[in-house]
Symmetry: C2
Subunit: 435 residues, 2 copies
Amino acid sequence: MKILFENAIVYTGEKLLKNAFLAVNGTKIAYVGDTRPEGCFDRVINGKGKVVLPGLVNAHTHLSMTLLRGVSDTTNLQSWLFDNIFPIEAKMTPPMKKVGALLGMAEGIACGTTAFSDMYAGAVGISEAARDAGIKLNISRGTTEFSDHFDPTKNNDAIEYVELFRDWHGFDNGRIRVDSSIHAEYTSNPDTWEYMVKLSRDHHAIMHLHLSETEKEHREGIERRGKTPAQAFAEYGVFDVPVLAAHSVWAEPEDLVWIKKSGGAVAHNPISNLKLGSGVFDSAAALRMGVTVALGTDGTASNNNLDLFEEMKSAVLLSHIRAGMENAISAEDALKMATVGGAVAQGRSDECGVIREGFDADLAVVDFDRPHLMPCHDVISNLVYAARGSDVCMTMVRGKILYENGEYLTIDMERLNYDLANVLDELFPGKNTRL
Amino acid sequence: MKILFENAIVYTGEKLLKNAFLAVNGTKIAYVGDTRPEGCFDRVINGKGKVVLPGLVNAHTHLSMTLLRGVSDTTNLQSWLFDNIFPIEAKMTPPMKKVGALLGMAEGIACGTTAFSDMYAGAVGISEAARDAGIKLNISRGTTEFSDHFDPTKNNDAIEYVELFRDWHGFDNGRIRVDSSIHAEYTSNPDTWEYMVKLSRDHHAIMHLHLSETEKEHREGIERRGKTPAQAFAEYGVFDVPVLAAHSVWAEPEDLVWIKKSGGAVAHNPISNLKLGSGVFDSAAALRMGVTVALGTDGTASNNNLDLFEEMKSAVLLSHIRAGMENAISAEDALKMATVGGAVAQGRSDECGVIREGFDADLAVVDFDRPHLMPCHDVISNLVYAARGSDVCMTMVRGKILYENGEYLTIDMERLNYDLANVLDELFPGKNTRL
């Protein structure tokens, strides 16, 4: 399929082109520039009033938790997790998790998201959902080990990882990849870390982990090991592989240096961190240090949606008060976090994250023909400060349109609604969770 | 026109009704409850999957500034205002301001907004726009006086106020009202204040003013007068009339007591205050003191949209870090700020702000049949944390539908687009401000 966008605004990730042409040939971007490329196209899309972006990357989420949207809105992470979330999660079966993940993917796709980095027990169901939905997925299972010993033949996470790497790592030419994972410093031990590092090395996989999300976690980690969680990880070689460090709200400058050296990224989740009362990550300081910052929504149970446009706006607005300085980060900084930053976080910066010839045609198209996007003095300002996820009119992954003008082309929404009703009835018997 | 919503979720402002019936007769709410009212209806609306709310009130904005959306995104209020905004505003004619206001109203109406409190020079044009758009408007002109003397026959604001009160105060049975106004402590003098208080008294009008928006303004006010701006106002009787105090980020507890005593409200603008680096108003402390808090977007030039759903979510999320405590305010607190709090701020709490028999039928209907609003464990949680302005499917003012499923019924959008193009060409010659 050859598709041509003509007379569009294109933000390539590096520059803003007006009245531009963008050609897609099969799965790849064949041309981007200001003259009409020669040749025939199966479809020509009038880009008038539309802005084409690199697809947005949600670099940290737990898609199956979409089933738990709004279950608990307390700001205390510990109480939220142990009193409210864990008891329900214990009842979630793998097929339920697949349905929850597909619902989350549907939501994200409608907001221009082309790739997710997910961490969850039940990773196989989430991978199956991504296979069906056509999106890119870096899947991981947050490995925990609460005993003193780590035995990969007995740890459920390690056992599932065997299947994950075998069946899903590199699936569909790498559309789905598996990330190695340590859930967090406080939920595992050094044996676990060394095992997960080995998995990363063996499979050339990213290491996705939670890092210093709350002050309590960070402080108790220091009390426990005499060093920060990141420093403790470093001692066991965790940063010898590219680390995707979610949150990092309380990470210290030397911790960020480790992330930078690893070739990985921080997944900044500004809304979830506020909602759970964890604080605000100092993204301005991280960018000044040359650390790659990506954006994540975290799960809907602590957000409560998957709209990266909200995250971009929040990231900029919060940066100023967090850094205590004017213009701490810019709108374009946030847009880069959600695109190229995410691609780095997924180890995909050689295939997507920017609009460039030869790269995958992973695109989000935003319709500016709406009152709240007029006038347009500054395209990037309107994208970050005025637009919403609902302004996305098309989402494309590897040249395949997944969503256009409210219609899903890969997800059967009728079937999903039916499955969702059944799952909710089973998980929350007697409660009406559908309007 | 008699309209019946059946089987809807209705949040009355006081409680949440499921499978409820809501009848509108002419301009008023005729019934709300759980049994079907008798009688014939011109239209019966199936409320399945929909949530009906009191219409949202945008308690502080500058609608004509919609023309300036994204013109400058610096976080420094002084530089933003003096270097970027004022020079363009100086070129804006009254007809331009009307077009800008109508664009802002179109945006707000599509997000469920039924009433605005606006402060701007060019108030007549904004009033004309509200007359045409069918929304409720409290209009004011932020009165300034930079000389030592205030002569109401020479001050442009005072001169316009004569016309405003004559032509617009009480227009269409009070759909449009005029608020008296002092722009701010630092832009006027006590003579001005006393004159504006007299106007408020004479016309039973709200006093709309900017209060302690930035630390600098608050501190310099204290240096200038030996007391806070609010205390200085109090000395001249400003709080003898109901005061709508925009921002109040740096207002002190005793300042808030004055607002409470006046019977007025704070207009909390969380996003604008972050964007201009002003800080975060402590809404939790204000609510504990019994101060009415309403929500505003401020102008789009410092936001950059007019979506009160974003303000509600931001208000809750920021309250926790501002107050330094868990669960500082709740989602329902924010929903009340945007509805009944706004009605108090406008002096309209006897006519709207809640859904109650005999009150004006000012309604916003939210469509929950969307992936990001599923499941629905908690209606108010989904409204505040997961919904966006674009989920509004109907906006009604006094029983008249202004907007439904993307269509405007009072605003001619084709004409508005045409007028907007002309205004932008004139105001920004040679610049392409339309995609």
